[in-house]
């Protein structure tokens, strides 16, 4: 046997690199690598030559320079003297803000529409089908532009709120809906507010612990512990008690009309609102389809079997249908969340200052550092996408069917 293998090893010929399955893959990979290296070095050579010809170089020093432009929607402190890096940070936070808001509302909208599409009410099902088809088949950019023009066209300008007998009034003296944006009361924190917030966090934690405990009891002893009312009580009562005990340490600051504009409170620019709205309503249509498909994918026998076991309707939904439907729904949902994050880059069209608007827009145009800025931009989105999909894949694996 050993002699046999040795003779075969001796008879290695060069042609075996092409004809023998064992060696052919090495040949192919070698050539693929060679071609790749050639392409990259060719592109690199062109890049170097072009840069030299245009008198440019690659350097990230510009990030330290003062940006010199203003950003009117921001979550952290920023002024026109701040660096480009700071501007990019503001942009990143704005991207994340609209993405998170969009994901939440798109999920709510999508799940509602998906369930209503399966409703036995004919007219509701048809309405939802129309919603889904209309929003799925028209580009998101057009929706963003339409919604922002509605927003600017329909809502009154801040000056309409002025005067003795204004054309527009604030809702409960708290919310002002203007074409420039929505003004809402903002919280002001006094001394002791930390205790209230701490209590609130603690009570939420205790709700989670209570529910876990209830589930463990259910699985181990078959005892059902009611968690509905205790949860609600835990949610409200301790926080409210502490709030008054410490003498109302968190106040509300109402927006007020000063000059030609509102001051104070929380301000969401029209561009943020219309982008948020457009992203959620567009992606909601896609999510609705996935939710519908997910629920339909659960065999009818499952419902009947659960009913035969004597489970009540809400238990059937929570314990039998949803866990199985979620397995179908979750993976596409991940990619929709990623899509929202990526589509939020269309903020450029309505002038919302997200990372594409700051780093890839004004910074790029002011400094002329196209290559550096676009590379950073891509890096940011790559990091976001890869980390979201990594986290979601872990979650996905935890709820997957455990097969073989």
């Amino acid at each position: 046997m050993s002699t046999f293998t040795s003779t075969e090893r001796e008879t290695f010929r060069l042609s075996m690199l092409l004809n023998d399955r064992r060696y052919r893959s090495y040949t192919f990979q070698f050539f693929a690598l060679l071609v790749l290296i050639c392409i990259i070095s060719y592109l690199g050579k062109n890049l170097v030559e072009n840069l030299a010809k245009a008198g440019l170089n690659i350097s990230y020093g510009f990030l330290e320079d003062p940006a010199g432009y203003d950003i009117n929607q921001r979550l952290i402190e920023y002024n026109s003297q701040s660096s480009h890096l700071r501007a990019a940070m503001v942009g990143i936070l704005n991207t994340l803000l609209v993405a998170v808001l969009g994901c939440i509302t798109a999920t709510v909208l999508g799940v509602t529409a998906g369930i209503l599409r399966l409703s036995n009410n004919w007219i509701v099902a048809k309405l939802m089908a129309i919603y889904v088809e209309i929003f799925r088949n028209v580009p998101i950019l057009i929706w963003i532009l339409i919604i922002s023009s509605i927003f600017m066209g329909v809502l009154p300008q801040p000056r309409a709120f002025k005067g003795e007998n204004p054309d527009a009034t604030m809702l409960w003296d708290m919310f002002a809906f203007t074409g420039r944006g929505i003004y809402a009361p903002g919280p002001i924190f006094f001394e002791g507010s930390l205790v209230v917030i701490g209590t609130f966090v603690l009570s939420i934690l205790s709700i989670i612990v209570l529910r876990r405990h209830a589930r463990r009891k259910l699985y181990s002893e078959g005892r059902v512990i009611k968690t509905g009312w205790p949860s609600i009580a835990l949610f409200f009562i301790p926080t409210i008690l502490i709030y008054y005990a410490f003498g109302s340490p968190i106040g509300l600051e109402y927006p007020e009309l000063k000059g030609f504009n509102f001051k104070g409170g929380i301000y969401a620019r029209g561009s943020l609102i219309s982008l948020w709205f457009a992203l959620s309503i567009y992606t909601g249509a896609f999510i609705a389809e996935v939710v519908r498909a997910g629920i339909q994918s659960v065999d009818k026998g499952q419902t009947e079997a659960a009913a035969a076991l004597g489970l009540r309707n809400n238990f059937i939904m929570n314990l039998v249908i949803l866990p199985q439907a979620l397995r179908v729904i979750i993976p596409p949902m991940i990619s929709f969340y990623l899509n929202i994050t990526k589509n939020s880059s269309l903020a450029l069209a309505v002038g919302y200052m997200d990372i594409t608007g700051t780093l890839g827009g004004i910074t790029l145009n002011q400094t002329g550092r196209a290559i550096e800025a676009v590379l950073l931009l891509m890096l940011f989105y790559l990091v976001i996408s890869l980390s979201i999909s990594a986290v979601m894949n872990i979650y996905n694996r935890s709820i997957m069917l455990k097969e073989r």
Binding site: N46, N120, W122, N137, P139, L141, I142, L145
Partner: protein, 428 residues
């Protein structure tokens, strides 16, 4: 059989009665589908109210629409305070919306014919019942379309086609012995054809020539369709190769594909368009100038192919491994087993996904308006809304753009559902 004469026994059947009113016809349908429970009744009333308010709000706007006016001022004068649309802008700027503002007006017939021929060329691909000979036209079509849209001498597309045909012929001839040999000979023969043909067409620039239109003059809906069609048709084969590469057992090839696909899928299309706009030119040789539209097509093709690769990979993964093993045991080599056994089945599974991705691509072509190209949305945002005549007519214009995209995309997705049913061959 004793005759039963008891008076209380009925002798003949009662005639069938009509069901009660609540159990038949419209009433039954309404009861079951609209008012089956109190909650449903509330939902129905709510929906009816929503429908009513939408119709009541928009009907006068449509009915009072002004179709003949030369500016938005004139529109408002005609409407005289009544709510109404100003559709005149669509009528007056129709050519701009469709062809962009630079395409020569005398040549509008060319894109029109190209679009009509596109339908003819697509027909045999889309509907399998049509005679197969029509496919010959589909193969010629890209070259013909290039000549019609961009103009210039007909020799350029003819040479390109002949080179392509010669290459394919040689490939067919030599690939019976070895696949790689066929590819290499085909490429060499085609290149020789193109090289000599290039001299020929440069020498006779006026031969059967249409007025040449540079790429930067393309615009409007035409640009959207152009970008969408080219990017989709090129990216489908590219995506299939990427998917096969990702499934490959050779680590280097696999990782090249994985990195490419994940990179493209991880970034938004808009950043890739930035690359096309400001960076890609740096990677071409210093003295060449590749126009923007071609750079955008390159990036869009890459983008679309990464997504198609993922769809096809799903199709490949869904095939039972028995299919791969059966192909191997028949003694087929890799190319044969893929072409004859694996891909036909995998692609059939991936059709809905491929169509979804392609519809998405067509919709995403509107993003080029952000890098200041004048596609349909770019035309509306730029040259139309910024003029003093039509400043502020958002709804009509964007509504029209939305309607156009809806019709195109909706019909494509309906076609894909139909095709799925046609290809359904499972034994269930």
């Amino acid at each position: 059989m004793a005759e039963n004469n008891a008076s209380f026994v009925r002798h003949e059947l009662i005639k069938e009665q009509v069901p009660p009113v609540s159990e038949r016809g419209l009433v039954k349908w309404v009861r079951e589908n609209l008012f089956s429970s109190p909650f449903n009744a509330i939902m129905t009333v709510l929906s009816l109210w929503v429908i009513y308010s939408i119709i009541a709000g928009s009907a006068p706007w449509f009915i009072n629409g002004v179709w003949n006016a030369s500016s938005v001022r004139e529109c408002y004068d005609i409407l005289d305070g009544v709510s109404g649309a100003c559709f005149a802008v669509l009528k007056e700027r129709f050519p701009q919306l469709i062809y962009g503002f630079k395409y020569p007006a005398t040549e509008y017939w060319r894109p029109n014919i190209t679009t009509l021929l596109l339908l003819v060329a697509l027909a045999p691909v889309l509907f399998r019942k049509l005679p197969r000979q029509l496919l010959a036209f589909s193969i010629i079509y890209p070259f013909l379309a290039y000549w019609l849209i961009w103009g210039g001498t007909i020799l350029v597309p003819v040479v390109a086609f002949l080179g392509f045909a010669a290459g394919v012929y040689c490939f067919r001839r030599f690939s019976t012995n070895a696949f790689a040999l066929g590819v290499i000979v085909g490429v060499i023969v085609a290149s020789i054809f193109w090289l000599f043909g290039g001299y020929l067409s440069e020498a006779n620039e006026t031969f059967l020539s249409l007025q040449a239109v540079p790429s930067r003059d393309m615009g409007g809906l035409m640009l959207n369709l152009l970008l969408g069609t080219i990017a989709c048709s090129v990216s489908i084969p590219l995506g299939i190769f990427l998917a096969l590469g990702r499934q490959s057992s050779m680590p280097i090839i696999k990782w090249i594909c994985v990195v490419f696909i994940e990179f493209i899928r991880g970034v938004p299309l808009i950043t890739l368009l930035f690359v096309a706009n400001v960076i890609l030119a740096f990677f071409f040789p210093p003295d060449t100038s590749i126009d923007l539209i071609l750079r955008v097509i390159i990036m869009m093709t890459f983008f679309n192919s990464a997504y198609i690769a993922e769809v096809v990979r799903g199709g490949l993964a869904a095939l039972p491994s028995g299919q791969y093993e059966a192909a191997n045991s028949l003694g087929l080599d890799y190319a044969q087993s893929m072409r004859l056994i694996i891909l036909p089945q995998a692609l059939k599974i991936s059709i809905p996904g491929i169509v979804n991705v392609s519809v998405g691509m067509l919709k995403d072509t509107t993003l080029v308006s952000i890098i200041s190209m004048f596609d349909l949305v770019g035309m509306i945002r730029g040259p139309i809304l910024s003029t003093s005549e039509w400043n502020g007519v958002y709804w009509e214009l964007f509504g029209c753009a939305a309607a156009i995209f809806f019709v195109v995309c909706f019909s494509i997705s309906k076609y894909s559902q139909w095709l799925e049913r046609q290809l359904e061959t499972s034994n269930r």
